[in-house]
């Protein structure tokens, strides 16, 4: 391939893109202060390195960012990104933390947006006890819709505009590693909390904290069925009296135990047996959801609700609109949902409840280690013990290292890098920040042969386009529609292994044409849901972190002005990073 050096290429691109008199182009170029050193095109200039780093450690450069990082110095930039807490967030980004979907605890989300609460509110609305099922459906849909839109709004805003760029990339990485699909029932209301409370705080922390938080969050417990996992011989005697819940607590459910080893920690070839899966499942018995009186997921105390409703009805005069009514009802009735259980701070934050009565009290042996508790301590300690055991296992170090190397360096990552990361994991007790530090300073990361070798996933493609064009997100629905069309609807990967980040997973003919349509829409400022105002197509060419080929440059040069930006965003080079 006739690769021109990036700078040389950029100058060409700039000139051609503008299609205007050369002099004007040159002036503009000088103004941007970017191509002043164009004549020198060393193979690994500072600029080339900045481009590569921004391509991988962020969701793609934003306008002016390359110059900014060059001024700041690559090492300073990297150091800052590795300590995201040192970077102030603008209000536009910080305010997503105020959205209900993000700030509320799992039980609050269930109480405010789950079906029982909505049904209660609707009943209260009609004084008669019969509630129209179709109307109720509409109310559920509204309520779920609000939470859904808030959840994706928060993620897209942060991915696109947060200055903590590497942290956002890591959130995406870990979310897929510990994937939960919002398509599965109740998880719909819990996804925002899951990312906020179980992933985000630990994205650059200790791996075992991530495992602990994700395994205890209501979203994961529901998604992989551990909330039902019950000691075989201690099936909940109360449960049989509950309608439609009679099958919930009737023994071991291995689903989560298996994925905890196969996907989250040891890896598929991590050296565990079916026996280990069963034993781990026994350790995890009783780790479930907060519950009401009698078991099952958190549900309203009907007696209490009924009396509260009557009292409320008696004292309330004027009719409220549906939103007010729901808020009022939820507030008034909230105590009825707590089920009379004393909860710890962690219980509340993550939405789990450990039910000792459903826990398997026998000894277990996982990976050759006896898991047992000291004296009369809670079975919950066994879970902490086993998480430690899994996270300290060499297979986990290798598994996580491979995944990081694949995500940041190459679809088939070099073994030497995987080894370096494994070593660092083991030296630092699974410190993610330390591993990233090793990764970004490795010779493999900077190796020319891996530059531009990754193919963007649809999510990365969309976010990098929004960033490159400095578009404002106005409505998330069309963006979600595009992601769905390309097979990557946000938060809806059905399988627990999460979305892949390899070229073979995402490069296919249909997908590519869909991208070109997206590029055409956003590049002409006509993508619904985004406010895009492109003044200078050349500035977007900046966001291509790989060399533009002569063919691409020629095509852009020959194109009518209004198609130049679409062509940049739809170029093969913009698909790569």
């Amino acid at each position: 391939m006739q690769n021109l050096k990036r700078q040389c290429c950029f100058t060409l691109a700039l000139t051609l893109l503008l299609g205007a008199p050369l002099a004007q182009a040159a002036n503009l170029a000088k103004d941007k202060g970017r191509v002043s050193a164009q004549t020198k095109s060393e193979p690994d200039s500072e600029e080339a390195k900045v481009l590569h780093l921004l391509g991988r450690a962020t969701f793609g450069p934003r306008p002016g960012e390359i110059e900014r990082v060059e001024r700041q110095g690559l090492e300073n930039y990297l150091n800052e990104q590795l300590h995201p807490e040192s970077i102030a967030l603008p209000d536009s980004v910080r305010q997503v933390e105020n959205l209900d979907a993000i700030k509320l605890s799992p039980s609050s989300l269930f109480i405010s947006y789950g079906k029982p609460a909505i049904a209660m509110a609707a009943k209260n609305d009609n004084n008669n006890t019969k509630v129209d099922k179709e109307k109720l459906k509409v109310l559920f849909k509204e309520s779920y819709g609000k939470i859904h839109d808030e959840t994706v709004q928060a993620r897209l805003v942060r991915s696109a505009y947060s200055p903590r760029e590497l942290e956002e990339v890591m959130v995406d990485f870990w979310y897929n590693h510990f994937n939960v699909s919002m398509s599965k029932g109740l998880d719909h209301v819990w996804i925002g909390s899951y990312e906020q409370a179980a992933i985000r705080p630990y994205a650059m922390g200790k791996f075992k904290d991530l495992v602990h938080a994700t395994s205890h969050h209501a979203a994961m417990l529901f998604y992989l069925d551990n909330w039902q996992n019950t000691a075989a011989r201690a099936a909940d005697p109360n449960a049989v009296n509950l309608p439609r819940k009679k099958n919930n607590f009737q023994g071991i459910n291995e689903n989560f135990a298996r994925e905890l080893m196969e996907l989250h920690t040891l890896g598929v070839d991590g050296g565990y047996s079916q026996k280990d899966v069963t034993e781990l499942a026994r350790v995890l018995t009783g780790l479930g959801l907060q519950k009401g009186s009698g078991g099952g997921p958190l549900r309203p105390n009907m007696e209490q609700l009924r009396s509260q409703r009557q009292a409320l009805r008696a004292q309330r005069g004027a009719a409220l609109n549906p939103g007010q009514r729901r808020n009022q009802v939820v507030q008034e009735y909230a105590p009825a949902f707590s089920g009379g259980i004393n909860l710890t701070e962690a219980n509340t934050r993550l939405g789990y409840y450990f039910d000792e009565s459903r826990h398997d009290q026998g000894d277990k042996i996982v990976l050759g280690q006896k898991i047992s508790r000291a004296g009369k301590s809670s079975g919950e300690q066994e879970i902490d013990q086993v998480i430690d055991l899994l996270c300290r296992h060499p297979s986990t170090a290798k598994h996580i290292s491979y995944q990081l190397a694949q995500y940041f360096v190459a679809d088939a990552p070099p073994q030497t890098l995987v080894d370096k990361l494994t070593k660092r994991y083991q030296e630092t007790d699974g410190d993610i920040r330390a591993m990233l530090d090793t990764l970004f300073h490795s010779s493999e990361f900077w190796d020319q042969k891996y530059r531009g070798a990754k193919f963007k996933s649809p999510y990365r493609y969309v976010v990098s386009s929004i960033r490159a064009t400095d578009s404002q997100i106005d409505n998330v629905k069309p963006i979600l529609g595009f992601l769905k069309q390309t097979g990557m609807p946000l938060y809806q990967c059905l399988t627990p292994d999460g979305y892949k980040n390899t070229k073979t997973a995402w490069l296919n003919p249909d997908n590519l044409i869909n991208r070109l349509n997206f590029a055409t829409a956003i590049g002409t400022g006509r993508f619904p849901g985004l406010v895009t105002n492109i003044q200078d197509p050349a500035a977007i060419a900046d966001a291509c972190t790989t060399d533009l080929s002569p063919k691409t440059i020629q095509a852009i040069k020959d194109a009518p002005d209004k198609l130049k930006a679409p062509l940049v965003l739809g170029s093969p080079e913009f698909m790569l990073y």
């Binding site: 099922k133 179709e134 459906k137 699909s181 398509s183 599965k184 029932g185 689903n255 298996r258 994925e259 196969e262 996907l263 598929v268 070839d269 079916q274 769905k484 069309q485 097979g487 609807p489 059905l494 399988t495 627990p496 292994d497 070229k503 073979t504 490069l507 296919n508 003919p509 249909d510 997908n511 590519l512 044409i513 070109l516 349509n517 055409t520 829409a521 063919k551 691409t552 020629q554 095509a555 852009i556 020959d558 194109a559 009518p560 198609l563 679409p566 062509l567 739809g570 170029s571 093969p572 698909m575």
Partner: protein, 428 residues
């Protein structure tokens, strides 16, 4: 070998095996026979799968009117007996077809339509999410299967180099088609609107950038544009005035196949005129009838009317190709035998698979039937799964497409197929 171990082994082998297929597919010049592992693989036959999402109520499709218990447990939603107003259409002494499916009767009569009773997934889940996932991956009970069974089927068929060898009628690639082999997607809309890049003005600009690139991106572009052009060309006709009217309705809001009978006519035309189409998939939603399901008329009857008309038009539009096409209609699970308090039905277990096409041993019902007495039901409430869906689909597809047993094992791994069940479903 442990079940999971086997799967893992399969997963690895499949990935290794499929990668070249993927490459071959992206390189038009590569050997077409790369994956014709078996000389007998059929190059003209086709498989079409319709997935009815939400779990269709099988007992309203093939109605056991001869069993008095049916009318006892379904006082509001039972389909009336043959001969009565909006009654079932008699199939035999026990069963009748829903009156909305009348357009399919000629196919029943010419013995190219049949139903398999009491089949489904062995997994007990009543979650749409899990059950669809299992039925589409083809490996019930296991979540981490990267591909869908139709994609694995494609990998067993010869790569004919066509960008439309797999058609997906919908808006997004469903689980069943996911995997290394690409499919061409189009929305079931009465009026095919070419996308922006298909307009010559924009296409030319992108062609300059992509044409002649000898890499995977260049090939993907060429294939993608060709597939779009083919579909647009074949679906350019505007249809009858009646269909045009329907189009107006369907164009408002999201286009749903359940509101557009023309999906069958369009798909039939595409398959007939593009002989290289090997498989097609149609997604239909709206069958989760918990409330006011209706009987001979109503919610479900309306959906069945669209479905019946669509299937009938598919058969007609396929023309002579109907003889080479196997159409399977399936749903994630069945619904409760008894109606619920809202004149609807809740999530159940066993259901019926519909089979249509020239090769089908039609005009009769297949599978076992024990009636709907309490003791015959799964957990006392649902139709049982007496035949695993893979034992219905697997052998039929293998026989129809000329796959060896080893090849079929790649499509439905980790499962001991019952061949005798499946092959009797086709004409000998």
């Amino acid at each position: 070998m442990d079940r999971r171990e086997f799967l893992k082994a399969f997963g690895g082998a499949a990935l290794a095996g499929l990668a070249p297929a993927c490459l071959a597919q992206l390189l038009p010049s590569s050997a077409v026979t790369a994956f014709a592992l078996d000389g007998k693989v059929n190059t003209t036959n086709k498989v079409v799968v319709l997935f009815l999402r939400g779990a269709i109520d099988g007992l309203s499709v093939v109605v056991p009117y001869g069993d008095p218990r049916y009318y006892q447990v379904r006082p509001k939603i039972a389909i009336a007996k043959p001969g009565e107003e909006l009654g079932a259409i008699k199939l035999d002494g026990t069963f009748g077809l829903h009156p909305s499916l009348a357009p399919l009767m000629p196919l029943w009569q010419n013995k190219t339509l049949s139903f398999h009773l009491n089949c489904g997934s062995p997994d007990p889940t009543r979650s749409h999410f899990d059950a669809q996932d299992y039925m589409e991956s083809g490996v019930p009970g296991t979540k981490v299967v990267p591909s869908g069974w139709m994609n694995r089927l494609l990998s067993q068929l010869p790569n004919n180099g066509s960008p439309v060898r797999a058609l997906n009628v919908g808006t997004t690639t469903p689980r069943i088609l996911q995997g290394p082999i690409a499919s061409a997607t189009y929305a079931p809309s009465p009026k095919r609107k070419p996308s922006m890049v298909e307009s010559p003005y924009i296409a030319r600009a992108f062609e300059k950038m992509y044409d002649g690139r000898k890499d995977d991106l260049g090939n993907a572009f060429a294939q993608g544009m060709e597939a779009r052009a083919t579909i647009t060309e074949k679906l350019s006709d505007q249809g009858t005035p009646e269909q045009m009217q329907q189009m107006t309705a369907a164009d408002q809001g999201a286009i749903q196949a359940t509101k557009f009978t023309g999906f069958g006519r369009q798909l039939g035309k595409l398959i007939r005129e593009e002989p290289k189409v090997q498989v097609a998939f149609v997604d239909l939603g709206g069958f989760d009838t918990h409330v006011n399901q209706g009987n001979g008329k109503g919610q479900l009857a309306n959906h069945l009317n669209v479905l019946g008309t669509g299937l009938s038009e598919l058969a007609t539009a396929l023309g002579p190709t109907y003889q080479n096409t196997l159409v399977l209609v399936m749903s994630e699970f069945g619904r409760t035998v008894k109606e619920n308090g809202n004149a609807g039905t809740d999530h159940g277990h066993g259901n019926f698979i519909w089979m249509m096409g020239g090769a089908v041993a039609g005009g009769k019902l297949h599978g076992s039937w024990d009636g709907i007495g309490q003791n015959s039901l799964y957990e006392g409430r649902d139709l049982p799964v007496l035949t695993d869906f893979r034992s219905v689909v697997g052998p039929m597809v293998a026989e129809h497409m000329g796959l060896s047993k080893a090849q079929l094992a790649n499509v439905f791994p980790d499962y001991k197929l019952n061949y005798s069940t499946g092959t009797s479903l086709l004409k000998s």
